[in-house]
């Protein structure tokens, strides 16, 4: 249940930045979460509703943008798409690939007033 910790980080970052820029309320937060990131999206949404309470993001909506898993297959010498760490390369069926994207956990943007 480290989604609670992740949400504390999210609420801390967005409320601090909104306050620094003189805004009073965070209305919406956009996250980018990679398909292979170590996070359960339903748990994240649940935790967000708890952690946002009594902050300037108390009514903030959460939008999650999922980013695809991308890898470089060493055997094919080609970029390939992956959905899990244990997926075989969709071209050659091997496992000699390195992740190049899809484990992101980023706060992309927010709407404030």
């Amino acid at each position: 249940m480290h989604e609670l910790s992740l949400c504390e980080g999210i609420i801390d970052a967005v409320t601090r930045q909104a306050r620094q820029q003189g805004f009073g309320r965070v209305r919406r937060v956009w996250l980018e979460i990679g398909a292979l990131a170590n996070v359960e999206l339903e748990a994240l949404r649940f935790a967000f509703e708890i952690v946002r309470r009594d902050t300037m993001a108390a009514e903030a909506e959460l939008d999650i943008i999922t980013l695809p898993g991308r890898a470089w297959c060493l055997d094919c010498a080609e970029p390939v798409a992956v959905n899990q760490y244990f997926d075989p390369c969709p071209r050659c069926g091997g496992y000699q690939w390195r992740l190049t994207g899809g484990n992101e956990m980023r706060i992309k943007e927010m709407e404030v007033d």
């Binding site: 249940m1 480290h2 910790s5 992740l6 504390e8 980080g9 999210i10 609420i11 801390d12 970052a13 967005v14 409320t15 930045q17 909104a18 620094q20 820029q21 805004f23 309320r25 209305r27 919406r28 956009w30 996250l31 292979l36 170590n38 996070v39 952690v51 902050t55 909506e61 939008d63 943008i65 899990q84 760490y85 244990f86 075989p88 496992y95 000699q96 690939w97 390195r98 992740l99 956990m105 980023r106 706060i107 992309k108 943007e109 927010m110 709407e111 404030v112 007033d113």
Partner: protein, 280 residues
């Protein structure tokens, strides 16, 4: 209020801090289309969710580098034998170089007592309901522990194969401990942890005759998830296979020491150059 990082005792959310990352810039654009045309202003944040933890981890890492400390973050399920492994490791290595242990558990100081009995300073972080250690907590634990300069610090994480994968503590690398009494498919069930680890220790190999555990299949699963992972098999109880693990730790300690020497020599050369310039 903590004097080092400014944290309050209980409120993680109002935790004033200097930080090194960029502040957001205001801009107007419409590339994110979600249908709810808001009245408010759009601000780009573009910040990693774990940015705060990364700052604390970087501070820990600087401290470790200054002291030439080789730091390992040990992760596993509960009951994999981490503490038995560490107690035996401490007994073997404490005479060779300084060794210290930070342990994380939800409750009790039992593990730290076992490590101290084995001959190394140890502090326990009780995470309470928390499911992982974070870099901030480790930074505070270091205040209560002599830094094992030019030696090795083991951080024994909370027994949990999910959450600790995400939290950099400032370590050189993660070591995942898996025991043969667990399922051989754990690398597939918890791929993020095995993908994040440098080394996998397959523990309790003395029990292999008594359990159904396909070692070859387990190692294959681990390498599917992480083609670069190193794997050692041992029994912390009987000591079988321990020497290869101890040598692995010794190599890491020597590498950290060599980096410290390089850094000190560079500092010395810079100081000598300043002296030569000012000496006339």
């Amino acid at each position: 209020m903590c004097s080092t990082c400014g944290c309050g005792e209980s409120d993680l959310l109002v935790h004033p801090h200097d930080h090194t990352h960029d502040h957001p810039h205001e801009h107007d654009h419409g590339i994110v289309s979600h249908g709810h045309a808001g009245e408010g202003r759009r601000l780009a944040v573009e910040q990693d969710i774990l940015a705060r933890n990364a700052e604390f981890a970087a501070a820990n890492r600087r401290l470790f580098a200054q002291g030439g400390v080789f730091v390992l973050n040990l992760v596993s399920s509960p009951g994999s034998g981490k503490t038995t492994l560490l107690a035996r490791t401490v007994r073997a290595l404490a005479g060779e170089f300084p060794v210290a242990v930070i342990g994380g558990d939800q409750q009790t100081a039992h593990d730290a007592e076992r490590i101290r009995a084995a001959g190394a300073p140890a502090v326990q972080i009780n995470t309470g309901k928390g499911c992982h250690l974070d870099a901030h907590g480790v930074g505070h634990a270091l205040e209560g522990l002599p830094l094992p300069e030019s030696g090795v610090l083991f951080i024994e994480n909370v027994g949990n194969l999910v959450c600790p994968a995400d939290f950099d503590l400032g370590e050189a690398g993660k070591v995942v401990v898996l025991s043969v009494t667990e399922g051989e498919d754990k690398p597939l069930k918890y791929p993020n942890m095995f993908a994040a680890s440098w080394l996998m220790l397959l523990n309790k190999t003395d029990l292999l005759p008594h359990v159904e555990f396909d070692v070859a299949r387990c190692l294959d699963y681990a390498r599917r998830v992480n083609p670069d992972i190193e794997i050692l098999q041992l029994s912390a109880r009987t000591g079988d296979g321990m020497e290869a693990w101890l040598d692995w730790v010794r190599r890491g300690q020597r590498a950290a020491l060599a980096q410290q020497v390089d850094r000190l020599e560079a500092d010395l050369a810079a100081a000598r150059a300043r002296l030569a310039r000012t000496g006339g």
